[in-house]
């Protein structure tokens, strides 16, 4: 099994380390590989879209011809975990809390509405404790950094975790999105859960 990480920009190294820990914990025979070119996408059984700047990651994926391949593969069932910027890339409807709608290259396959920078700027970024019992974990501390919020889901997208009025972890078949950063958390449960989707 090979888990790819879209590695242009953002928390790709942190995701790689966290995925490795989850693989060890589950005693899986699996590798973590960086993905930057379309050909590198052909060998992976799942892909992680890390946190970072969604505009940068989108522009880069488009420029190198990864975006369209990625879109095709995900719509035909490739498991994907999108965190923060990654969750933005997956959503069908995206706008910014302050600036409103802006055009940016996206994947746009998930039945979700997401609002960028929902909680405010970095000054309003925060840490909090989430209860992961719905996916088989316990409580753990996570950070929300200039985080977006998933304000609406429809169709087959279902909420796995929420914080206040907003959904912070949503799954739609092979697609998993979080608005927090499991790669910076003390728990590997989100990565374990994602690995279990790949295994299916």
């Amino acid at each position: 099994m090979k888990v790819g990480i879209l590695a242009y920009q953002g928390s790709f190294e942190e995701h790689a380390l966290q995925t490795k820990l989850a693989i060890d914990k589950l005693h899986l025979n699996a590798d973590v590989v960086p993905v930057k070119k379309p050909s590198e996408l052909n060998v992976v059984d799942g892909i992680i879209l890390p946190g970072g700047e969604s505009t940068t990651i989108g522009i880069m994926a488009q420029k190198l011809g990864v975006l369209d391949t990625l879109k095709d593969k995900i719509s035909s069932g490739l498991p994907v975990l999108g965190t923060c910027a990654g969750a933005i890339m997956l959503a069908k409807e995206v706008s910014d809390a302050k600036v409103g709608k802006k055009s940016q290259p996206l994947i746009g396959l998930m039945d979700t509405t997401i609002i960028r920078n929902y909680y405010g700027r970095q000054r309003e970024s925060f840490e909090t404790t989430l209860d992961f019992s719905t996916i088989g974990g316990s409580t753990a501390k996570v950070v929300f950094i200039r985080a977006p919020a998933i304000t609406k889901t429809w169709g087959k997208a279902k909420e796995l975790l929420s914080l206040g009025d907003n959904k912070v972890m949503v799954q739609e078949d092979n697609m998993l999105a979080t608005t927090f950063h499991p790669e910076l958390s003390s728990t590997t449960i989100v990565h374990e859960y994602f690995l279990s989707i790949i295994k299916k």
């Binding site: 970072g52 700047e53 970024s125 200039r146």
Partner: protein, 338 residues
């Protein structure tokens, strides 16, 4: 893609332990300021060390561009910059105009904040607590305590643990970097010589930093204790760097980067990302050059992509540049704030 020994969470646990050891360290006679860290036991908390150290991670592999107005900020965002740094004058112009260089006009910073979706950073003078307080009130995403501006305090840096907004600081070697981290910096900029379009000083300082980190590994423990005293930082911080074989926070390269090749070279030397200042907006092809530098930074491991990036620009339109050797010692900006 690099893999490290410790996860972000483990590194953060270390910082919290460091604050618990504060009294013990003081008793050992190390003259260091160790933070009172805000720790959220339960519930939700803003501005913790964890939250401030996390922000720069989302800049990794990216390019932060110096801008002086909304128009330039828009060019930077469209090119794929991960953040902009607002200043009153680009370093090249600071150099030319002379006088006292201060933080940018809050009105311009605010206009930039309202026009783009990527993070907005701004510079304050070294030690200028109140310029920083103003920028925090304004809500900038990160504050750069920068030697490009005229230092306000010749002796001290700002105590950055007191702020909810994260700080980035410059450093030319491991000692400077660790002192800034100990003062609460969330990100390091390895200093070059800003406004020159000459990358040589950035290379020199990145190599010094790398070799000082590598050397720690071969040392006896007692020599690392000595190093900690020399650097004026807690021994535990030196131990953490030894274990990680890198700085415990994000480190970008800055100062003199003018081409995609310059950017890729700094990434190859181990930078987590790039700051570009005069190199973009003092060239004659800022928009294309900005795109090219972003492409080369994110794909530095692939020379063929860096080549493609280099072909997007032309050397004829690069900024003129200044040979460091022609600068008088008093004209160097990098030596400010050690």
């Amino acid at each position: 893609m690099r893999l490290y020994e410790l996860t972000f969470n483990e590194i953060e646990e270390f910082f919290y332990k460091l604050s618990e050891f504060r009294d013990i360290i003081k008793d050992e006679g190390l003259l260091t300021f160790v933070p009172e860290l805000e720790r959220s036991v339960s519930g939700t908390k803003e501005g913790t060390a964890r939250v401030k150290h996390a922000f720069p991670i989302f800049q990794k592999g990216g390019v932060v561009m110096d801008v002086t107005n909304v128009n330039q900020a828009q060019i930077a965002e469209d090119a794929g910059a991960t953040a902009v740094m607002v200043l009153d004058k680009l370093p090249y112009d600071v150099r030319k105009s002379g006088g006292v260089a201060r933080m940018a006009d809050p009105k311009i910073i605010e206009d930039v904040m309202n026009s783009i979706t990527i993070p907005v950073m701004a510079k304050v003078r070294i030690g200028h607590y109140y310029e920083a307080k103003i920028l925090e009130s304004l809500g900038v995403d990160m504050i750069d305590e920068s030697e490009v501006l005229t230092p306000a305090d010749e002796e001290h840096h700002i105590n950055k643990w007191e702020f909810k907004v994260p700080f980035v600081n410059g450093a030319r070697n491991l000692g400077e970097a660790l002192r800034r981290i100990n003062e609460g910096a969330s990100m390091i900029r390895t200093k070059g010589e800003p406004g020159t379009g000459n990358v040589s000083e950035a290379i020199k300082h990145m190599k010094i930093m790398n070799s000082e980190i590598r050397n720690l590994l071969g040392m006896e423990e007692e020599d690392r204790v000595k190093k900690a005293r020399e650097y004026q930082v807690p021994y535990q911080l030196v131990e953490l760097v030894t274990k990680l074989q890198r700085l415990p926070i994000v480190n970008f390269a800055a100062g003199g980067i003018a081409t995609p090749a310059d950017a890729a070279l700094m990434m190859w030397l181990g930078s987590d990302g790039i700051f570009v200042g005069s190199g973009i907006f003092k060239s004659q092809d800022p928009s294309e050059r900005a795109k090219a530098v972003v492409l080369a930074t994110a794909n530095w491991e692939y020379p063929e992509i860096v080549l493609e990036a280099q072909k997007m620009i032309t050397e004829e339109k690069s900024m003129m540049g200044i040979d460091i050797k022609t600068l008088k010692p008093e004209e160097l900006l990098q030596v400010r704030g050690v």
